[in-house]
């Protein structure tokens, strides 16, 4: 067993002898962490990062396009955070895509809605969504801004392609978010993209590769090649790009297997699951 069962992912990144870049106040700029999943569901990583940053007292802007607020709240409570409380005290800005997409059609057109692209025939760009993120994360004027670095969390970007936005438009949106959140505000971005694998989705491949080139850390959750297993739910590949120290290149990529439990995820080296030893 390589990592203890509690708080698995953070210990994993630290125990691999690389300083945990997720929360360190960055000296120059923040980091973009890319989560992707192939043949499995990587949303457990999203829940982990959400609870992690909320517990660390960061200001979080969560663009949640996939599930409802109550879903994330329920899972968050298992992981030890209350999204309702965080939202009430201003730590969490939550864009519930499912609910607010209906508002787009019942709003007057003068005020641009973050999901304005749903209403346009030729989906232009995601500038309204970027303006929403920038507004949500800009440092407050009053003294309540006692939060640590701002964080943007997006779940997920592949659904934007399904909603008609082009891959280049999504890449531009993340580019602008990086310029504002990472460089200007010294915050972090975590976003999830699905890997279509063999499905030959060219737009998704452009999106995934384009984001990979912009990321500092890529966490890739894959299903096991041999199929579904009750005790090992998948494997996680960790790839560090742009290593800040430019030293040990050998540590750039690591692979672990994991099992999702009720309140945590346990990680272990390949083939070392306690169930099969």
């Amino acid at each position: 067993m390589l990592a203890p069962a509690e708080g698995g992912l953070l210990d994993l990144l630290e125990s691999s002898q690389r300083p945990c870049v997720l929360l360190k106040v960055p000296r120059k700029h923040g980091k973009l962490t890319l989560l992707c999943d192939a043949k499995t569901d990587g949303s457990f990583l999203v829940h982990h990062f959400l609870s992690f940053y909320l517990k660390a007292n960061c200001k979080v802007c969560f663009v949640a396009l996939i599930q409802s607020f109550s879903h994330y709240n329920i899972v968050g409570q298992k992981l030890g955070v209350s999204l309702t409380t965080a939202r009430e005290r201003g730590q969490l800005v939550f864009l519930e895509g499912l609910k607010s997409s209906v508002d787009v059609f019942f709003r007057s057109q003068e005020e641009p809605h973050p999901l304005q692209f749903l209403r346009e025939a030729n989906t232009g760009n995601l500038q309204p969504l970027f303006e929403f993120v920038r507004e949500a994360l800009k440092p407050g004027d009053n003294a309540e801004a006692a939060w640590r670095c701002p964080v943007l969390l997006v779940d997920d970007l592949s659904v934007l392609l399904s909603l008609g936005v082009g891959a280049v438009a999504v890449l531009d949106f993340i580019h602008y978010c990086r310029a504002t959140v990472c460089c200007e505000l010294k915050g972090n971005i975590v976003t999830l993209v699905h890997d279509s694998g063999d499905a030959e989705d060219e737009e998704n491949d452009v999106l995934l590769n384009g984001l990979s080139h912009q990321s500092h850390l890529i966490l890739r959750a894959e299903g096991l090649a041999t199929g579904f297993c009750r005790d090992v739910h998948g494997q996680l590949r960790i790839l560090w790009r742009r290593p800040s120290q430019l030293t040990a290149q050998r540590d750039r990529s690591l692979t672990y297997q994991y099992k999702i439990q009720d309140k945590s995820v346990s990680f272990f080296a390949k083939g070392m699951s306690p169930a099969v030893l």
Binding site: K28, H29, N125, Q127, F130, V168, L171, D172, H175, Y176, R178, A179, C183, D205, V206, N209, G210, S212, H213, Q214, I218, L239, R241, R242, Q245, L246, T247, A248, Q249, R250, R252, S253
Partner: protein, 303 residues
């Protein structure tokens, strides 16, 4: 006096009037120098796993004494509408560089070409790059002009073979980055004018100050050969049962004729059936209840 270099991402442009390239005797400088010796476009092709930005920075550091940094990262598409961004965006900036005024050597670094290729038509970008790298002389100026170096970073997986091929045909030198076992390598293709294209593969690593550290060859783990042939282990030595035959058993085994093997003795025996080998016959004595009906011997036809 070199300015501090901002390491961030897509859309940056740098214009650098450079000194003449230093002719060092050390082999460490050969790779960068040979790339920068030719004028024209040097294309750096990288992938997600092997990134090329560090090599681009090493090339810039090598060729530049003075760095001018055009920040197109913050607002390339003019979303902020503050008036700070260039009116025509990156393409306008590039076209402005085509009309250069000073005759000194210039290096233009583009990070990245992929961004330009995703936002501009391929033909426009190729024409602009061609105009950039083939600036022969300023109009009305008779003195010969130093060549322009254009360094472009291209992310291979983002584009189809067409645009990549078009850019590659424009390039005087093409560096494809790959690697093994954590060690990066560059496969360089030189297209010198009026010469055959030449290949070179170089293993390297980039030091924290963006200077290049060349390695002699691939990492040691790749070069190690397979272990010398170990003597085979005899599996019959330590068993709980006996696999060996004694001398008598061997003789008996060798003299055994197999029942279905067609030897000459068997052939003779079959051809001349003796009285002791009469064919088998069936003797049948019907009893009182049997009704031998030749047309219905089993008595099961429902007629």
């Amino acid at each position: 006096m070199p300015r501090p270099f901002h390491p961030e991402g897509a859309g940056q442009l740098s214009v650098t009037p450079s000194e003449s390239v230093r002719r060092g005797a050390e082999r460490e400088l050969e790779m960068l120098e040979s790339l920068l010796a030719l004028g024209g476009l040097v294309l750096l092709r990288d992938s997600v796993e092997w990134e090329g930005r560090s090599l681009l920075k090493a090339l810039i550091k090598k060729s530049a004494a003075w760095l001018v940094y055009h920040d197109l990262f913050r607002d390339p598409l003019n979303w902020s509408k503050t008036g700070e961004a260039l009116p025509e965006g990156p393409l306008g900036a590039l076209r402005a560089m085509c009309r250069r005024t000073n005759p000194g050597p210039v290096t233009i670094a583009l990070d990245s070409l992929s961004w330009l290729l995703l936002h501009l038509p391929c033909t426009t970008l190729c024409q602009t790059l061609h105009a950039l790298s083939h600036q022969d002389s300023c109009p009305g100026n008779s003195t010969p002009v130093e060549p322009v170096h254009v360094l472009g970073l291209l992310h291979e997986e983002l584009h189809g073979p067409g645009p990549v091929g078009a850019l590659s045909s424009l390039a005087q030198a093409e560096v494809t980055l790959s690697g093994a076992m954590g060690q990066a390598s560059a496969h360089i293709l030189y297209r010198r004018p009026r010469q055959r294209p030449t290949h070179q593969t170089q293993w390297f690593s980039i030091l924290p100050d963006f200077s290049l550290d060349l390695q002699r060859g691939p990492p040691l783990e790749l070069q190690r050969h397979a272990d010398p042939h170990t003597p085979p282990v005899d599996p019959t030595t330590q068993l709980t049962f006996n696999l060996h035959l004694s001398k008598e058993e061997k003789e008996a085994k060798d003299s055994l004729t197999l029942p279905f093997q067609f030897s000459s003795e068997k052939q003779q025996a079959l051809l001349r059936p003796g009285p002791s080998q009469a064919t088998s016959r069936i003797f049948y004595e019907p009893d009182a209840y049997d009704d031998l009906d030749q047309e219905d011997p089993d008595d099961d036809l429902d007629v």
